[in-house]
């Protein structure tokens, strides 16, 4: 504050420095008060519609935000600090791209110039199978009309918040099946939640206090920032993985991150993994899982293994669940917790079905009580018990899904290769991790975001830039291919080509 200096000189004679600083501060305060009183009041409408809704938030200008914050703290009723940070416009490309694609969605027939959504890892390849099952089975499932009697009593009343035993049984069986049958999951260790999102958050609430941290390998699913940090106050410490070894996790890197964080006074409570990995799509080997468990034992911390893509395998490798390694080695099971859900493998994200699977009785006890805030809806539970118990259907679904995933993956990756865009080696997931670093103008996050913007606004395709996933190397993009039909692939490739037309590397592609 430049005012202070001359004023200090003025009051040097009497009262000195104190008055010299007090007076300008007081003046500044009164100036603000004057400005605030003369600011025009916000108009009230009746009843007022919310002036901001999510899609528009990205366009909110930032210039007024400082004054809003200030006026919010005097006169207007206050909201919590947690809420203030969540209410801010979402600047992450991950969310901006999702919004843009949903506002102008591509449709081969009705909206061929719309934005093609490659930023949402949804699996649409096997809907026909689920639809068929629904139309053949539905009347009985919702209302329990097994013996011709309508029975809303069974689903209308209060259910156990952590899920009915029937669904836990069915889910344990399904998880075992989908992970290759190498592990048996106990229904009594299953806690059902309204999606994997609250499963992750609930586990964070159980395993860490505010101010503690989890180590998380990068690149990681952008949603973790929300799931872990929004309300729990727990931090995420990135453990960087690099393309030189296909983004494999290294214990050395884990150890370094652990020690660095501890030096800064923050306690690490656990490691948060996704296996199969999102966004890279690679798997953790048995040896690696063992090494991680060993590391966790040494540091006495938890391991959360998010295995939500376990059933979305297309490669030749076999998926190994953390549970499998635990089973056969003598590790303390109390530190391991697995997250699962039906949003990816069974394409039912709208139904909100997630799982916390833990070996720790105390965690299970706490998590069960916490599910009152995020339970699975009863009609959905009833429906899923039917579906998951239909062994013939599940068998067919898993087989067909794998086949179609393999097909789409192969086509998409080959197509990108044709544009001289290579993808990381991957065996699972609904996406590929594409290296477009040769197409960015400057090898930096800025360059990456410029390309992302071009792809979104010129090419009209929404892909997720690596920076949104905290990738340490610029130029990588996650492209989900399971929302496409085969005919859409050439369209996507053409649009990429068009968007980067003047980039020499592309034109010189072999």
């Amino acid at each position: 504050m430049r005012l202070i200096v001359p004023l200090q000189g003025v009051v040097q004679g009497r009262g000195g420095l104190i008055l010299g600083s007090l007076i300008p501060c007081a003046l500044f305060y009164f100036l603000q008060l004057y400005l605030k009183r003369h600011r025009s009041p916000k108009p009230q409408s009746n009843p007022p519609s919310p002036t901001t809704s999510s899609p528009k938030l990205a366009e909110m200008t930032r210039t007024s935000s400082r004054s809003n914050l200030f006026s919010r703290s005097i006169g207007q009723v206050r909201i919590s600090s947690r809420a203030i940070s969540i209410a801010k416009p979402n600047e992450s490309p991950y969310y901006i791209g999702l919004d843009k694609a949903s506002e102008d969605p591509y449709d081969r027939l009705s909206n061929p110039d719309g934005v093609i959504q490659l930023g949402l890892s949804e699996n649409r390849l096997c809907f026909d199978l689920i639809e068929k099952w629904m139309s053949e089975n539905l009347g009985h499932s919702i209302t329990g009309r097994d013996n011709g009697e309508l029975n809303i009593n069974g689903i209308a009343t209060y259910q156990p918040f952590d899920g009915t035993m029937e669904l836990k049984l069915a889910m344990a069986g399904f998880m075992s099946h989908i992970m290759g049958g190498a592990v048996t999951f106990e229904p009594s260790q299953v806690v059902l939640t309204a999606g994997a999102t609250p499963a992750i958050e609930t586990l964070c609430f159980c395993l860490a206090d505010q101010g503690n941290a989890f180590l998380v390998p990068t690149p990681y699913y952008p949603g973790f920032d929300r799931d872990v940090k929004f309300r729990t106050g727990v931090e995420l410490i990135p453990v960087h993985c690099r393309s030189t070894d296909n983004f494999a996790l290294s214990i050395t890197a884990l150890d370094q991150a652990f020690n660095q964080t501890r030096k800064h006074g923050t306690k690490i409570r656990g490691i948060l993994l996704s296996n199969p990995a999102n966004p890279v799509g690679n798997l953790l080997s048995w040896e690696m899982l063992y090494a991680i468990l060993d590391f966790a034992r040494e540091k006495n911390i938890h391991v959360i293994s998010d295995e939500i893509f376990a059933g979305s395998m297309y490669g030749n490798e076999e998926f190994v669940s953390m549970a499998e390694v635990l089973d056969s080695e003598g590790f303390d099971k109390n530190r391991v917790h697995i997250v699962y859900g039906l949003s990816k493998d069974l394409s039912l994200p709208g139904f909100r079905v997630g799982v916390i699977y833990s070996f720790n009785e105390n965690v299970l006890a706490a998590a069960r009580k916490l599910t009152r805030f995020s339970s699975v809806s009863a009609p959905t539970q009833r429906l899923l018990v039917s579906m998951l118990s239909d062994a013939r259907f599940i068998e067919e679904y898993i087989k067909t899904n794998k086949r179609r995933l393999q097909n789409m993956h192969a086509l998409f990756v080959a197509g990108l290769k044709g544009l001289n865009i290579r993808c990381a080696d991957s065996s699972a997931g609904l996406y590929c991790w594409a290296d477009m670093s040769k197409l960015i103008s400057s090898y930096s996050e800025k360059g990456e975001l410029e390309l992302w913007d071009k792809l979104l606004n010129v090419g009209k395709i929404n892909v997720t830039p690596g920076s949104a996933c905290h990738c340490i190397e610029p130029g990588w993009f996650r492209c989900c291919f399971t929302t496409l039909a085969e005919e859409d692939i050439p369209v996507v490739l053409e649009r990429i080509r068009k968007a980067v037309e003047n980039t020499t590397d592309l034109l010189n592609s072999s």
Binding site: S80, T157, G195, G330, N334, P349, F351, A366, F373, P379
Partner: protein, 443 residues
């Protein structure tokens, strides 16, 4: 690879995980355990514990069943399931527009059209439990305070405090004026918080009240709103029992108060609603936050990612609640049946010599057993509660678990059982009171 047998370590859990704030060690929940172990059944276990501690509405199931039977398409996305794909993929935290519209209409109907609701201000959550917690996260920081009038729903101790770190300071109400909230009580609670150096962020009222079973009067609502304005704090009105008032004219929503004031000061008001009580569908997990504050709506919506309602359920209920004929009939019939039940239990209790607070809503009545206490203390109340649970075999909720400042009051639910079961319960109470009279005569 050598197998290392790791000794069970003390891998640490969080403070939230080990805290007792979930409250499940209190008598409120101990009674439930007793019921679970020996549940009454009309045919198979006539000496079991009758559950009168669960505020669940089972009196109007038949109406729901009839609707579902006549409208198959509601649960099946139509023949060949054309709408299914879109529905199964729908995880937008805005919620289905058709469902929000249907909820807004339903809420308006319940209020006899005396308030209007904008579907874009509705944020959906998986139950009112989640709605209350979510609002608390948004309105207050850890260590801040919400003022809540006593007696209050025991679940608030958990829902408002457990993960949020927010504190509750009670607004004491007593029987001298039928437990109404007074400006003096509001001020006293506020001062109490201030004296502990705590920041008050809002008042949370339940209207109609749980456990009192009565609606809050218009003048009192105005007082509370004035208080909130004066202190520049929020007002949350949990109106989860609004459709369970026995007579439609007796319920005044905070929405009406705001409308009368032309929505001045509305940005501090938030309403919580749910289908668990009025529609008897707690298993469906359907709750809403209705806020007049844009920032709260935006933030709540984003936070609702942790507690979304299944799109299947949204679809089913959107159809059901858009059916005007169904909702009109349901609301009217449900009210009548609840009223009838209420009359039945009040008469029954009166015959046994027990007085209740004059109620006009909800699934329970607020019973005064203070004359029966050995000593007018919390201990005395718990002793009596124990006798009623273990000898009379009725699980009722002691006022102390609702933080009532006067011992001897109990909440008794009447809508979660058949009329026959209610008669059995009343017989048991009658017998119990008779026996006590005999005892006291012989002393």
């Amino acid at each position: 690879m050598a197998i290392e047998i790791e000794k069970p370590s003390s891998v640490r859990l969080s403070k939230v995980a080990i805290s007792k704030t979930h409250g499940e060690d209190s008598p409120y929940f101990a009674g439930w355990k007793a019921y679970d172990e020996n549940p009454y059944d009309e045919i198979h276990n006539q000496s079991g514990v009758i559950q009168m501690g669960l505020a669940e509405n089972q009196v109007s199931f038949d109406l729901l069943e009839k609707y579902l039977e006549e409208h198959h398409e509601v649960s099946s996305w139509g023949k060949g399931a054309p709408g299914f794909r879109e529905n199964a993929l729908f995880q937008d935290y805005h919620g289905l527009k058709s469902f929000r519209q249907a909820m807004a209409n339903f809420m308006e109907q319940i209020r006899g059209g005396k308030a209007k609701f904008d579907p874009d201000r509705i944020v959906l959550t998986a139950g009112a439990t989640a709605a209350n917690e979510l609002l608390t996260f948004i309105l207050a920081d850890p260590g801040d305070v919400l003022l809540v009038p006593t007696p209050y729903y025991p679940g608030f101790d958990r829902d408002l405090r457990w993960r949020t770190g927010v504190k509750i300071v009670p607004i004491h109400c007593n029987s001298s004026n039928n437990f109404q909230i007074t400006p003096e009580a509001l001020e006293a609670a506020y001062q109490s918080a201030e004296s502990m150096d705590l920041k008050v962020r809002g008042v949370l009222i339940t209207n109609p009240s749980n456990p009192l079973g009565s609606t809050i009067q218009s003048s009192v609502l105005n007082d509370i709103l004035d208080f909130a304005v004066h202190k520049n704090i929020h007002l949350v009105s949990d109106e989860i029992y609004s459709g369970s008032t026995f007579s439609p004219s007796e319920f005044v929503s905070i929405a009406e108060i705001l409308r009368n004031r032309n929505y001045k000061d509305a940005e501090r008001v938030h309403i919580v609603y749910s289908l668990s009580k009025d529609l008897g569908l707690p298993g469906f997990r359907v709750g809403t936050i209705y806020s007049y504050n844009d920032d709260v709506v935006t933030t709540a919506r984003r936070m609702s990612s942790f507690t979304l309602i299944s799109s299947q359920t949204q679809h089913l209920l959107a159809c059901m609640l858009s059916n005007h004929e169904f909702t009109q009939n349901y609301i009217k019939t449900n009210r009548e049946r609840l009223n009838k039940r209420y009359d039945m239990i009040i008469q029954g209790l009166k015959k046994a010599g027990i007085e209740c607070l004059k109620g006009n809503a909800g699934l329970f009545c607020w019973m005064n057993l203070s004359p029966l206490l050995n000593e007018p203390t919390r201990q005395g109340e718990l002793e009596l509660w124990n006798i009623i649970l273990n000898q009379v075999k009725l699980n009722i909720s002691p006022g102390s678990s609702c933080h009532c400042s006067e011992p001897g009051w109990f909440r008794v639910c009447f809508a979660n059982m058949s009329e026959q079961t209610l008669r059995v319960a009343l017989q048991r109470i009658h017998k119990f009171m008779e026996q006590r009279k005999v005892c006291s005569v012989n002393q």
